[in-house]
Structure formats: C-alpha cells, structure tokens
C-alpha cells in the first residue's frame, strides 16, 4: 500500500522539482531588477537598474540582432518544415531525412555552431575549397562573413538546429492526424499535392506543433552559446549581453543584468504573443483561402527547391562536423590548402588530461540527469496509467515551461536560491539544473510509446497473478526497451548541450565539453577547438548509437540461444 501511495505523490514531486527552481529563479531575478538584493546592499526598491539598462548605448543594436535572428530563424525553420512535408508527403526522402534528423538533433548547439564557423569563416573550409583557383584569393578575403553584422550566421546555425526538432515533432504529429485520408479526399477533389496538404493537413497538424514552435521561438531569441560563436559581439545579442553583465567584475552590474534578464523575458513573451496574433490572422486569411477553392499545381518546382534547401543544410551540418574532426588531427593546414598538409594526434595527447576530466564531468552529469529524469517520467506515466488519468493540455504547458522561459531570465535567481540552501556549485546543483531541461524532453519522447502500449498486455499479466510492480518490470519495461533507451539518450544529449545552467549552477567549478568548447571559441586555435567540439558532438551520438544497438544486440543473443536449444 505504501509503495502505491509513494507513486501517487510522484507527479507532484516531479512538478515541484522542476517548476520550483524556475519560479524561484524568476522571482530571484525580478527583485534585483528593481533594486532589492540585500547581499549587495540593495535594501529598497528603485528603478535605477532599468535607467542604467535603457541608457546602455548598445541596447538598441542588441535588441535588433536578437529580434532579427530569433524571428528569422523560427520562421525559416517552420516554413522549411511544412513546405518540405507538404511537397514530399509519402515520398522516400521523408524517411531518409527523418533518419538523418535524429543524429542532427543530438549534436549540441555549440558543436553545430563551431562546425558552421569552421566552414563559413573568411579562412574557413568553404573558401579554402574554392581558393585560389576559382576566387583568386591568396589571402583570406576581407569580408565580414563571420560574424556578419545582421546575425545571419547565427540565424543559419539556429535553423540547422531547430529544423530537425520541428521536423521530428511535426512528423510525430502527422501520425495522429489521419493525414493520408485527408489527402486522399482532397486529391480526389482535384487538389494538387502541396495545396491539398496545406489546406487539409496543416490546420490539423499546426495545433499539435504550436508549443514546439513557441519553444523554438523562445530559444532562438535567447540563445547564448551559439550566439557567442556566430553572432557579432560588440554589441552582442541581448541574451549574451545580459550574461556578460552577470559576470561583470563590478558587482553593481548584477542589478543591470537582472533588469536585462527581465527585459529578455518580456521580449520572449511579447514575441510569442506576436506569433499568436500572426496565427489568428493567418487562420482568418487561411479560411478564406481554403474556401476560395484554388486547386494548385503539381508543385514539382517547389519540391525540387525545398529538397535542395534541406539537403544543403544537412550537408553543411555534416561538413561542419567533419571539419572539426579534421582540425582535431591536423598538424599543419595552411591557407588556402583544401586539406591539411600533415596530420597528427599531438593535440589529443597534449590535451589528454583535460579531455579526461571534461569528458568525465560531462558523462557523469549527463548520465545522472538522464537516469533521474527517466525514473521520474516512468513513475509519472505508470501512476497515470494505474489511476486512469490523462494529462491535460494545461499540464503540458507546465511541462514546456522551462523550454519557454529564457534560461538567462531565471538561472541567476535559481543560483541565489541554491546558495541559500547551501548546494551552490555542487554536483546536486549541477545535475538538478540540467534536469530542468532534460525532464521535459525525456517526457516528450517517451509519453507516446508508453501510452500506445496495448494495455491488455498488462491486464493479461495481472490476471495471471502478477502484481502491478511485477507487470511494470517484467512486461512493460522489456516491451518498451527501445523507446526507454531512446528517451534516455535524448536526455543525455540535452544535458551535454547545457551551457548556461552548467556555468550558473556549477559556479564555475565544473568544466564540461560544452563550456570548454564555447570558451575556446574565442581563443582561436582551431585544433584545440576541434578536439572539444568533436568530443561534444561524439558523446551524444554515441549515446544514440548505443540506444539503437542494445535492443538489436539483445534480440540477436536471444535468437542464438533459441538456435542452440
């Protein structure tokens, strides 16, 4: 009986575990933003932090960069996703791209950004490949391709990371929207394939991908690690600027930083509201558009175009990863050679000690966060099934909360909280801060398969006399092995990606592959950067490979046993 009761408390505990730090963090950031921060002699309320923030000369430019790259990246990712799925519905390329998207999703943001930087910098691989024979550039060209003044490199990097996420979310939404039937009807009424998809499938699918889109928008508007690598830095996008203020040696700048963090939150809230307005407008216009009855053409040109765009992005991402790997084993690679002139593992052996420590920290925090998240999620889902509860849309919003609230807007407050309860800069704080972002993703990647498992299996097992706990361990878990391992790998990958949480919660004591890769990006030795960025990308990919291989391995050993018997 007690165990049953414990399970019933689990959803509440889980929500508390990951909402309390967000809520406390927001309050702990808002108070200093209005001058109240006793630790730094701020005992009363004032608007001084805001006056200093608004007087900052770089603020308008920071805001412009933030809004431009955030909206452009979200809009591009969204349009590419739906046009690709509309134009290629049912085609083999969707399966192929889907297979490629999962590993791309696993690559941490910072690694993707560094890979892209290796490609598009004035002395990057792309220029080297075509110079000097095609361009005549014997020296790296004097163009501001990285960073460019409008943050387009950042936008491109964001699209490369957000497209896989949106594509996979939309594909899974498609499975619940009877798309084939809708399309068959529309096609039989004379609609072209793309038009049929846009008019009959998109309205059903959009509802389900709304939250992921908001998450993408919020992320793109507040990204720090990618921006530090790809965006202009004087002045930088708002989130980077706020992060700098938080790290300013002049402690009074904490107040300005807190005000900036609140501004960052306001920017995200306003952007989501604006997007929502756009949705309403698009829905109204869309209804008239659908009622107009235009059938549309075969959409062949569009298909060619969107396929090319997606393939280009995939090639860019892959080439970026390859460039990092190549740089990490380079001894000499003179401009404008297309390939290194000599290779060696010197860098690897020279960095050996650092590599072991940072990889170890990354592994421990990642595995701990992933497995704690897995246990909590499994407990919640199991509790939900035993009690016949279903999660409401509103609860889903709670789940998305840590993904919608900009990290820089609450992590400072959470850090203050962790200092107060005495866990600042400990493993507990580090893993907990990762858990906030790991948990939602583990839940999202596991819930469908968990609920889809035919409940008659567990009923049968119960009627055979097995207790609910035995049913869970012996029937459900083995049958769900594949999605459970996959969700664990997702959780691990999300943890590896975390940059700001590691810095804030870790109090600077913990160096992971991600923090190392980002801090090295300012330095300039591409070989060292290559090592850490490569490792950072390799770790999550290895986790996914293991999650896919293990069930197959078990199946094979079972088949062998059977043969022998």
């Amino acid at each position: 009986m007690t165990r049953r009761d414990l399970l019933a408390y689990l959803p509440g505990l889980t929500l508390l575990l990951f909402l309390a730090p967000v809520a406390a963090g927001l309050i702990g950031t808002w108070l200093p933003a209005f001058g109240y921060f006793p630790a730094l002699e701020g005992h009363g309320f004032s608007l001084l932090p805001w006056q200093m923030l608004l007087a900052h000369p770089g603020l308008p430019e920071s805001l412009r960069l933030t809004l431009l790259s955030g909206f452009l990246a979200t809009l591009t990712s969204f349009l590419l996703t739906i046009v690709f799925l509309a134009a290629c519905h049912g085609g083999r390329i969707i399966l192929a791209i889907r297979g490629l998207m999962a590993p791309l999703l696993a690559v941490p943001h910072a690694a993707m950004a560094l890979g892209l930087a290796f490609l598009i910098a004035p002395s990057g691989w792309l220029v080297r490949l075509v110079s000097p024979w095609a361009t005549g550039w014997d020296l790296p060209p004097d163009v501001a391709s990285l960073p460019d003044p409008n943050g387009l490199a950042l936008t491109l990097g964001l699209v490369m990371k957000e497209l896989p996420f949106l594509l996979l979310m939309t594909l899974s939404a498609l499975e619940h929207s009877r798309a084939d039937e809708r399309l068959a009807i529309a096609r039989s009424l004379g609609y072209g394939p793309v038009m049929a998809w846009m008019k009959t499938v998109l309205p059903a699918v959009y509802r389900q991908i709304r939250l992921p889109i908001y998450a993408v928008l919020a992320y793109s508007l507040s990204v720090v690690d990618m921006a530090m690598i790809l965006a202009p830095l004087s002045p930088p996008p708002l989130a980077v600027q706020v992060f700098r203020w938080f790290n300013d040696p002049d402690l009074t700048m904490r107040f300005v930083a807190a005000a900036g963090a609140v501004l960052q939150l306001l920017v995200v809230v306003a952007a989501i509201a604006l997007w929502r307005l756009g949705e309403i407008l698009a829905a109204r216009l869309g209804r008239a558009w659908i009622a107009g009855g235009r059938r549309g053409g075969k959409g062949r040109a569009l298909r060619v175009l969107v396929k090319a765009a997606i393939q280009t992005l995939v090639v860019l991402a892959a080439a970026g990863l390859l460039a990092m790997a190549l740089w990490s084993v380079t001894r000499r690679w003179r401009y404008p050679d297309a390939l290194p002139s000599s290779l060696s593992l010197d860098i690897w052996s020279r960095l050996g000690n650092d590599i072991v420590w940072t990889t170890g920290t990354t592994l421990i925090s990642g595995l701990a966060a992933a497995f704690i998240a897995l246990a909590l999620v499994l407990g919640c889902l199991e509790n939900e099934q035993r009690r016949g509860l279903t999660i409401s849309t509103r609860a889903l919003w709670l789940l998305y909360a840590p993904l919608l609230v900009p990290q820089v807007a609450f992590l400072f407050g959470s850090q203050v909280l962790s200092i107060q309860i005495g866990i600042d800069a400990t493993w507990i704080a580090l893993v907990w801060s990762h858990l906030l972002f790991v948990l939602p993703y583990v839940f999202l990647s596991l819930e469908d398969s968990y609920r889809a498992l035919d409940e008659r299996y567990s009923r049968t097992a119960l009627c055979l006399g097995a207790s609910p706990n035995r049913v869970f361990w012996r029937v459900k878990l083995p049958m769900l092995l594949r999605p459970v391992l996959f969700a664990t790998a997702v959780g691990f990958a999300v943890s590896v990606t975390q940059y700001l949480p590691t810095l804030f919660a870790g109090g600077g004591r913990f160096v992971t592959l991600t923090t190392e890769a980002v801090s090295l990006s300012a330095g300039g030795d591409r070989r060292v950067m290559g090592v850490f960025a490569f490792l950072q990308a390799a770790l999550p990919l290895a986790a996914f490979a293991a999650a896919l291989a293990l069930p197959k391995r078990l199946a094979r050993s079972r088949a062998l046993r059977e043969q022998r018997a």
Partner: protein, 244 residues
C-alpha cells in the same frame, strides 16, 4: 438461468452487476451464475459493454467507468480484490503473448511462484506443451508461431496460472473458420476438464452454440433482453423474451 441465493456456492456468481459512465448506465443490472465446468455465453452487439463486463470481473475496469454489484467466486466476494488476487484468467481476441519472452518464458510467467524448483517449473511447462502437441516449441519466439499455435499457447499460459474461473473475450474472432472450431473445442474441453466456470462474451452465435451452455443476450442499450437456462440448440429460432 439458474437463480441463486446460496452464498456458499461453487462457481462464478455475478449479482446485480451494473456498469455506468458518468452516472449514465451502460450495462445491467445483470445477475448470473456459472457452475464449475459450465460455459455461460453473453451475446450482444459491439459497444454494449460486454468487454467492460469481463474487465469488471477481473478487476481491470477502465477507471473512467463505474462498476457496481458483487462478484462471488467459489463463495467468496472478490469484487474489491486487486486483479492479481482474484485468480480469474482471461483470454482476449489477440493472444497477447509477450513478444520479449519465448514460448516457455510466457508460460513460466503464468506459472504460480509457489512452484519454486526450477526443474519442477520446467517439467510443468513441458507437460503442458506436450499435452497440446507443442512439445518442440519450448524455446521458440512467439513471433515465429502460427495464429492457431499462438492462441493455444495463450490458453496454456492462462491455465498454468491455475485460475478459479475463465473469462473469454471473443478469443475466437480473429481465427479463420477451420481453426476457430478446433480452438473452440480445445478451450472448452480444457475448461470442462479443469471444472472451470467459464464466461464467454461474443457476437458470433456459433460460439454460443458450441459452448453448449446458457446464453444471455444484451441489447445495444446494455439491457438484458433475452436469456435461457438451456443451451442454444434446444431453443426455437427466436430467443425467449424475459420480463426483466
């Protein structure tokens, strides 16, 4: 339909069972008795709550539904017991063999834990398989079995758990006609041999005919509209109306 008033009765007894959803009655009230070795058939259109009735009996009713009434098994009220403590076996339309376990693994899952000794457990499973002419299937993956073989393994798994009653939720519906007749007699023979009270729900009249026991008919509104205490074949073409 035998009317029962004695509590200390062998077999499965349902008393005034009713299923409701949000206060709205779905099925019932329904009372019936299944004597050991007897097969009682409940017939009705799909959606009338037949399967939920069986779920109520084995304690796995969808929490969104409310069930009331009493279930007595060999004289004991089991209505409030946990599913795993009821000793009621159930077979569904699909065999639901656990795909991650071998045939023997599935059967061992059903075998009560009181049989401790590994060799004794193995012997029980081999004996059951041999008796079903499936001795060579011990180590096989269920996925490699034919539909009829899987159905038989599913029944063996249930029987090995030593249930005190057997519930059948249209377990013949997905088998082809020739196989269906054979598996039907396989199930009924075993149920009779072990003197299990058996409750069958179906919409196939042939199932009811073969069961050879009392038949209860439920209409789309979940009301009992006809019943007989005699096997179907002895009745006229039209079911006898009851006054309920």
């Amino acid at each position: 339909m035998t009317v029962v008033s004695v509590a200390k009765e062998h077999g499965l007894v349902l008393r005034q069972v009713e299923l409701a959803h949000g206060g709205q009655r779905l099925l019932g009230p329904l009372s019936l008795t299944v004597a050991p070795g007897e097969v009682v058939t409940v017939m009705g259109p799909s959606g009338c709550g037949k399967s939920s009735l069986l779920a109520f009996v084995c304690g796995t009713l969808d929490p969104a539904l409310e069930g009331s009434g009493r279930i007595l098994l060999n004289g004991e009220d089991i209505s409030r017991r946990l599913p795993e403590e009821r000793h009621v076996g159930i077979l569904f339309q699909d065999d639901l063999l656990f795909p991650h376990l071998s045939v023997a693994g599935n059967l061992a899952f059903g075998l009560p834990p009181q049989i401790r000794d590994r060799r004794a457990r193995r012997a029980r499973i081999e004996e059951a398989l041999a008796e079903a002419d499936m001795a060579e299937f011990y180590d096989r993956d269920p996925a490699t079995l034919s539909g009829g073989q899987r159905a038989r393994v599913a029944l063996l798994r249930t029987l090995l758990s030593e249930p005190c009653a057997l519930l059948l939720d249209e377990p013949f519906a997905k088998l082809d006609v020739a196989l269906r007749a054979r598996f039907r007699s396989f199930v009924f023979d075993h149920a009779r041999a072990q003197a299990l009270p058996t409750l069958l729900v179906t919409h196939d009249p042939q199932d009811a005919l073969d069961a050879g026991g009392p038949v209860l008919e439920i209409d789309a509104a979940g009301k009992v509209c006809a019943g007989t205490d005699r096997p179907l074949e002895q009745r006229g073409p039209e079911p006898r109306r009851t006054t309920e």
